[in-house]
């Protein structure tokens, strides 16, 4: 009985999770394999046969990869600055970097409309300093979606990296320096390799988030920059094509799971390589 105790304690939460997560997901998967003419893969064949769907799939990947890359670079710089700041400044910087997370996604995406719009901050500035004589078309482009997503998810990347960077032993820097490594050499040969686990965790969070997010592509990209999530919404809520919507949901789940497994494997490989050295 004593051995059952812990299991009984987690049972209510497990049951809740089963009811609210596992069952609906299983239902979605089942529907996606329920083709109109009885074939298991009918819906998937129909999805991939349509060139527009393939373009949307590739575009979603491209946007997710680009926003992950931009978040990684910006997040690394931010986290590096925070990790090396004095304790008081560190607290302030951390709060500042996490602050956007307290604001709604809609508000944050709208702020980018004000920045990138025809009468927005960027165009007004460029026009005033005479860099351009006509407003640039920055909004409703792939670049706008990537910028919006990077802004949305960089705080997550910073949070993933700060802890990792803080835990790097100062003695390692001292040792590298005493062996003649330049500051740039220390960064590339000590800091960067040791930050890889944090970079991978952050990348997983940003990539999966960028792939699934709905509001930002709708507001900053529109129909011209349709992604899997906006296509899914259109199929489910406007076209009533539930088979296609379930199939897109299943494809998005498969992509996310594959990416998580692949990045996890990469992290393990890097960790194993480091141990061998």
């Amino acid at each position: 009985m004593a051995a059952l105790g812990p299991w009984l304690l987690v049972l209510p939460a497990t049951m809740l999770l089963f009811l609210l997560l596992v069952l609906p997901v299983a239902g979605t998967l089942k529907e996606s394999f329920d083709g109109a003419s009885g074939g298991l893969l009918d819906n998937y064949q129909a999805f991939f046969a349509d060139e527009f769907n393939r373009v949307v799939l590739i575009r979603s990947f491209k946007i997710a990869f680009m926003s992950t890359f931009v978040s990684l670079v910006a997040g690394f710089l931010g986290a590096y600055m925070i990790a090396n700041a004095s304790p008081n400044l560190k607290r302030v910087l951390l709060i500042l970097s996490v602050f956007p997370l307290l604001t709604s996604v809609v508000v944050r995406s709208f702020s980018f409309m004000a920045i990138l719009g025809r009468n927005g901050v960027v165009n007004t500035l460029f026009l005033k300093i005479g860099l351009i004589d006509q407003p640039l078309e920055l909004l409703f482009t792939q670049g706008a979606v990537v910028a919006g997503l990077a802004y949305l998810f960089t705080p997550l990347m910073i949070l993933s990296l700060v802890g990792v960077l803080e835990n790097i032993d100062d003695d390692l820097y001292a040792a590298a320096g005493s062996l003649g490594a330049s500051p740039v050499g220390v960064f590339f040969q000590v800091t960067l390799p040791l930050a890889v686990p944090g970079m991978i965790v952050g990348s997983i969070l940003v990539f999966t988030g960028s792939l699934a997010t709905f509001v930002t592509p709708v507001l900053l990209g529109g129909e011209q920059q349709m992604t899997l999530s906006t296509l899914l919404y259109r199929k489910a809520m406007i076209s009533f094509d539930w088979a296609a919507a379930n199939t897109i949901a299943a494809i998005m789940m498969a992509i996310t799971i594959t990416c998580v497994i692949a990045m996890g494997a990469l992290a393990n490989r890097i960790a194993a390589g480091r141990k061998m050295r």
């Binding site: 349509d50 060139e51 527009f52 373009v55 949307v56 409309m113 004000a114 719009g117 025809r118 009468n119 078309e137 909004l139 409703f140 709708v218 529109g222 129909e223 011209q224 349709m226 259109r234 809520m237 406007i238 076209s239 009533f240």
Partner: protein
């Protein structure tokens, strides 16, 4: 131990407290609507109807697709308010009951097009229109035709409705007309003309608020709009006006329907009848304004009340009919062509 008189008093109080619960046991009528007009519906429609029929009205609010889905799959809705596009989808899905017209005492007062806009199903309850709005200070030559959208001086100026909105396919119809053909007979030519519009399109939008945002921020100065969105657009940018088009605007209608799985069909019919009466129609037109043109031809409005509304026989007849049923039949084929034109 309670005395006898105390027991009697206690019992009396208990009965008095319990009785109202039984005395007020009422029927409930579930009305599914968008929710944003409830400030009008509550005092002008729901409360008088509740009093007259000793019924409690409960509303279920949300976007048209999700409400239609809920009403069809889960049930529990007695009257559903939808645009004619979504009511036609519901009819095609077999979700609605046919209407016994003999029980609608006000039906004869309606304009012909509003009586049975979709066969034997529910009547329309408002007239609206779909046309072009634009900032009149941004062009010297006014817009007088749908074909003006293709003008060279309108590069990067037009906000277009997405395909899956009511307006998207109507624009395709007008593109065909401007190309001298019929979109249903020659969709390829219609979409070739739509492709020519691409340089003029800034963004495609999916909702009225998105269009308002595009026009108020100056991202676009021409929009293809439904009149219900016009007051908000005008408030955001007073220079925006409604274009008088040679070909006419498209007629939009909102409809009432009774889901097949409703348990209060008789009461639902009475609610519909009450809602299309002259008084409720007039109240709706006055209180809600644009997009709520009265479908009851006996309604009389002052010029001020009628401004911005589809009102009167002339205006009703001047509008182009929206062939919802036909548009839904070609929907999938046209969506593919639309994606091919705009999605790459």
């Amino acid at each position: 131990m309670l005395s006898f008189s105390s027991s009697i008093r206690a019992t009396t109080v208990a009965i008095a407290l319990t009785l109202p619960a039984f005395a007020h046991a009422q029927d409930t009528l579930v009305v599914s609507n968008w929710g944003y007009s409830n400030n009008f519906y509550q005092p002008f429609v729901f409360e008088p109807f509740e009093k007259a029929h000793n019924v409690k009205i409960v509303t279920e609010s949300g976007g048209a697709p999700e409400r239609l889905n809920k009403a069809r799959i889960r049930g529990g809705v007695d009257v559903i308010l939808l645009t004619d596009k979504f009511s036609q989808i519901g009819i095609n899905q077999g979700a609605f009951e046919t209407i016994d017209s003999s029980k609608l005492t006000h039906l004869d007062e309606l304009y012909e097009v509003a009586k049975h806009p979709q066969g034997e199903y529910g009547p329309a309850y408002t007239f609206g229109r779909y046309g072009i709005v634009y900032d009149k200070t941004r062009t010297d030559t006014p817009i007088t035709s749908w074909c003006d959208l293709w003008r060279d001086d309108f590069k990067d100026s037009v906000a277009m409705p997405a395909f899956n909105t009511t307006g998207g396919p109507l624009t395709v119809m007008m593109a065909a007309k401007c190309a001298g053909t019929d979109a249903f007979k020659d969709p390829e030519a219609a979409f070739a003309k739509m492709a020519e519009l691409k340089p003029n399109i800034v963004k495609t939008f999916s909702s009225g608020s998105e269009l308002t945002n595009l026009l108020s921020t100056g991202e676009a100065f021409i929009g293809l709009a439904q009149d219900y969105a016009f007051p908000a657009i005008k408030a955001a940018n007073p220079n925006i006006g409604w274009a008088e088009l040679d070909e006419g605007d498209f007629a939009m209608m909102n409809t009432y329907n009774i889901p097949k799985n409703s348990k209060n069909k008789e009461l639902a019919l009475k609610f519909i009848d009450f809602s299309i009466s002259a008084q409720v129609q007039k109240d709706g037109a006055v209180e809600l304004g644009a997009g709520s043109g009265p479908i009851n031809k006996t309604v009389e409005l002052t010029d001020e009340q009628a401004s911005g509304l589809v009102y009167g026989q002339d205006q009703v007849e001047k509008m182009q009919t929206t062939p919802i049923k036909q548009l839904l039949e070609v929907n999938d084929a046209w969506e593919k062509l639309w994606n091919k034109t705009f999605g790459f």
